[in-house]
């Protein structure tokens, strides 16, 4: 049993991306995993301030990040998770700005608990798209993993019907 956190950067809770997430979740839950999804585009999340206070040795603030917003709900779930799933529609050969807000803020976990804390986790990438950008987004995903040191469980990128089935299989493969 793995604890899975989904960071969903889609704006629409009912559109294409949602179908992929639903399939992934069904597969993962059927395999006995615990899934916790955050719709980050609908949460109050500010950009990382780059203040580096999360990494300060003389830290007088017990919070993971100094900014009091909805990341306070996401941080404990991510800290506790075995798997982080990034979900986004393809926007300009990358993840959505809303998901990037949350991704940038993961820096606070690195500063607070060390790179190795996030590095112990695995990641999944689910993206809906039709057109270009596949290579660019896989390159981003590879760089993210290279920086953090986490393990890739797989990526499903596309819009075709079989991608939904692939997302379900990927969810079911986690145990």
């Amino acid at each position: 049993m793995k604890k899975i956190v989904i960071l969903n950067g889609s704006n629409s809770p009912k559109a294409n991306t949602a179908a992929m997430v639903q399939a992934f979740t069904e597969g993962a839950e059927a395999a006995g995993n615990e899934v916790n999804e955050f719709m980050v585009a609908h949460m109050n999340i500010h950009g990382c301030l780059g203040c580096m206070k999360c990494a300060a040795k003389a830290k007088d603030d017990p919070h993971i990040c100094v900014q009091p917003d909805d990341m306070e709900k996401i941080y404990p779930a991510v800290m506790d998770a075995d798997v982080i799933v990034f979900v986004s529609p393809m926007y300009w050969w990358g993840i959505s700005g809303q998901l990037k807000l949350a991704v940038d803020r993961l820096q606070a976990i690195v500063g607070h608990a060390g790179l190795e804390h996030l590095g112990r986790k695995s990641t999944v990438l689910l993206m809906t798209f039709k057109g270009g950008g596949m290579q660019a987004v896989l390159s981003w995903y590879a760089i993210f993993r290279q920086i953090i040191g986490c393990r890739d469980l797989g990526a499903v990128i596309g819009f075709e019907k079989q991608k939904i089935a692939q997302a379900k299989q990927l969810g079911a493969s986690i145990n």
Binding site: N11, S12, A41, G47, C48, L49, G50, C51, M52, A55, A56, K57, A58, P89, Y91, W92, W93, G94, I95, S96, G97, Q98, K100, L101, V103, D104, L106, Q107, G111, G114, L115, A136, S139, W140, I143, F144, I147, I148
Partner: protein
């Protein structure tokens, strides 16, 4: 001649901000009027895929979302030059720059024929700052150059790598980075980057 410079870094007075000020000086040196806008001071989000900019009617070709970014997009619409500056966070530009780019690019893209009318009056350039070594993010520069090309004459990229992250490394859990080396680069390489940023400003305004 008006050049808008967008700061996609939250840190004022630090690397990206300094380079943008140098670029502004460069643009001013050839007679341009400049304005630096700090994206992290504004209240806005990325594209919501509302499709209003693709809907036939008065919003066609313009982002219809009425938040702090609207005025910025309007200013760029009237400007002659645009210089973007952003740190690289986890392999892409900082979130607020990403959000800006989504909204800026999507509104101008014509999906009737797949070709956008180039804004020949606009010249654009990009300044990137990062921890990564030089060349590590080359594909990213190409990506954004390609995206800006249909809407502006692309004047160039300035890469500022292995930046000084904090003044005193001994106070931070940043043991992975060599603070001494970063300070040396700050003294020797950063002034060169500032010069390149100044020249980019001249070029965009020229």
């Amino acid at each position: 001649m008006k050049v808008i410079l967008l700061n996609g870094s939250p840190r004022k007075g630090w690397n990206t901000d300094i380079l943008l000020h140098k670029a502004a000086e460069g643009a001013e040196s050839v007679g341009a009027e400049t304005e630096i806008i700090n994206l992290y001071e504004l209240n806005f989000k990325g594209c919501r895929s509302c499709m209003a900019c693709n809907m036939d009617g008065k919003s066609w070709g313009h982002c219809a979302w009425n938040d702090d970014l609207k005025e910025v997009l309007d200013k760029i619409d009237r400007a002659d030059g645009l210089i973007l500056g952003s740190p690289i966070y986890f392999g892409d530009v900082a979130a607020e720059m990403r959000a800006f780019l989504e909204r800026f690019l999507f509104q101008y893209t014509n999906f009737d024929n797949g070709h956008s009318e180039r804004r020949n009056h606009l010249k654009a350039g990009f300044i990137y700052t990062m921890n990564a070594p030089s060349g590590y993010m080359n594909d990213l520069y190409k990506k954004y150059e390609q995206f800006l090309q249909p809407h502006a004459e692309y004047a160039g990229t300035v890469e500022c790598s292995e930046t000084l992250q904090v003044e005193d490394y001994s106070k931070y859990h940043l043991g992975f980075f060599d603070g001494v080396q970063r300070h040396q680069r700050r003294e020797t390489v950063f002034p060169e980057d500032c010069k390149k940023a100044f020249e980019l400003g001249e070029k965009v305004a020229g």
